[in-house]
Each structure stands twice: as structure tokens, then as C-alpha cells.
Amino acid sequence: SQKIEQNSEALNIQEGKTATLTCNYTNYSPAYLQWYRQDPGRGPVFLLLIRENEKEKRKERLKVTFDTTLKQSLFHITASQPADSATYLCALDMVNTGFQKLVFGTGTRLLVSP
């Protein structure tokens, strides 16, 4: 069966440390993988997109890797801040029909303490 797995337990880290979140998937072949941030009661906010032929992508303090052999993406936030506390969603960008359909993981809640 198809699965997208993210750590269900909250990740607690101290301010200034690097947070690393994991997204593993099975029985999917996404062309792209996206990471979103979601705050309580709000809609997902796009952070980064990485293509299947890219190994790594960076944007400011954010870095994402994509290993299509391992079927895994890692999402890193360096020099984390309390304002980074949120739920982070991994989404597979399925293009089978030529139209975009995002399939989301359950998300990992990140708590950054001062």
C-alpha cells in the first residue's frame, strides 16, 4: 500500500540548534516533493520544492534533500528560532495525470524552546 510517513511525535529542540525532519514514502514515484509549514487552524504555507533529479535545495535557513532510491526526504532548519515552532508537512507532487495532486504526510510538530 502507499504510505507517506513523518515522525508522529513532536520534535523538541533548543533555539539555535538544527532541526531535522524526515519524510519516508513507499509505493509512490513523485516527480517533485514539497515541504509546507502549517500553524494551528491555518492553511499550509509553501516552503521548498525539490525535483526528483535534484539532491539538495536550500533557501535561507532551510535545506531539503531528496533521495529517490531511499524514498526519503530530509528537511533541515538551521539556527532554529521559537518562531519556527509549527507543524511541517511533506507533500508528494503526483503528476500521473499531468495535473498536480499533492499527497500529504501527517506532519511533524516542531517545538523550539528559547
Binding site: A31, P44, L49, F99, F104
Partner: protein, 114 residues
């Protein structure tokens, strides 16, 4: 910065009633989507819409659901006869291209079916 808007922010309805959730996508976007998120669960794809027709729909999107772009700015989701299990947060999203592009999400409509 342009954003997706949704109305109402909250909707309470009786089981069996019809509801219409409204969205105004970003003005130059061509692709439109509805997702839902049951409390504590993952964001789930419902339907994508392009060129005035549905391009893809999920198993959740049964005959009780319909979408429409009644004019050049609005995009609506109608649930004809609501069930208790339709209680969820409904997110509208839009993008300017199909696959491999950022989807911009609205703030959501929280639907409660009693």
C-alpha cells in the same frame, strides 16, 4: 502579496443540509484545488479544477460534492447533503501552472456538521 481568501471562516450546519464554501484564488492562477483536513489528521486532496472542468478527484469526492467557477474570480465547493463525517477544515488552493509548482493555500473554512 496576493493571497487566496475563503469565506466563511466557520460554518455550522445541520446534517442533510447543503453548504457552499467559497474561495477567491489568486487572480492570475489557472489551477484550483480543494483539500480537507479532519481534526488531527492529514491534509487530503479532494479535487483539482482547470479550464472549467475537474481534472482529477479523489475517492472522497463523491456525488455529494461539486465544484464550480461561477465567474472569473470565485471557486466554490458545494456539499449537497452534509454528513457528520464531513466536519473538517476545508482548504482551497491555487497555482499558476500544473505540476511542480507551489500551491497557495487559503486560510480554510471550518465546517461543523451537527
Amino acid at each position: 502579496e496576493p493571497e487566496v481568501t475563503q469565506t466563511p471562516s466557520h460554518q455550522v450546519t445541520q446534517m442533510g443540509q447543503e453548504v457552499i464554501l467559497r474561495c477567491v484564488p489568486i487572480s492570475n492562477h489557472l489551477y484550483f484545488y480543494w483539500y480537507r483536513q479532519i481534526l488531527g489528521q492529514k491534509v487530503e486532496f479532494l479535487v483539482s479544477f482547470y479550464n472549467n472542468e475537474i481534472s482529477e478527484k479523489s475517492e472522497i469526492f463523491d456525488d455529494q460534492f461539486s465544484v464550480e467557477r461561477p465567474d472569473g474570480s470565485n471557486f466554490t465547493l458545494k456539499i449537497r447533503s452534509t454528513k457528520l463525517e464531513d466536519s473538517a477544515m476545508y482548504f482551497c488552493a491555487s497555482s499558476d501552472y500544473g505540476s511542480g509548482e507551489t500551491q497557495y493555500f487559503g486560510p480554510g473554512t471550518r465546517l461543523l456538521v451537527l
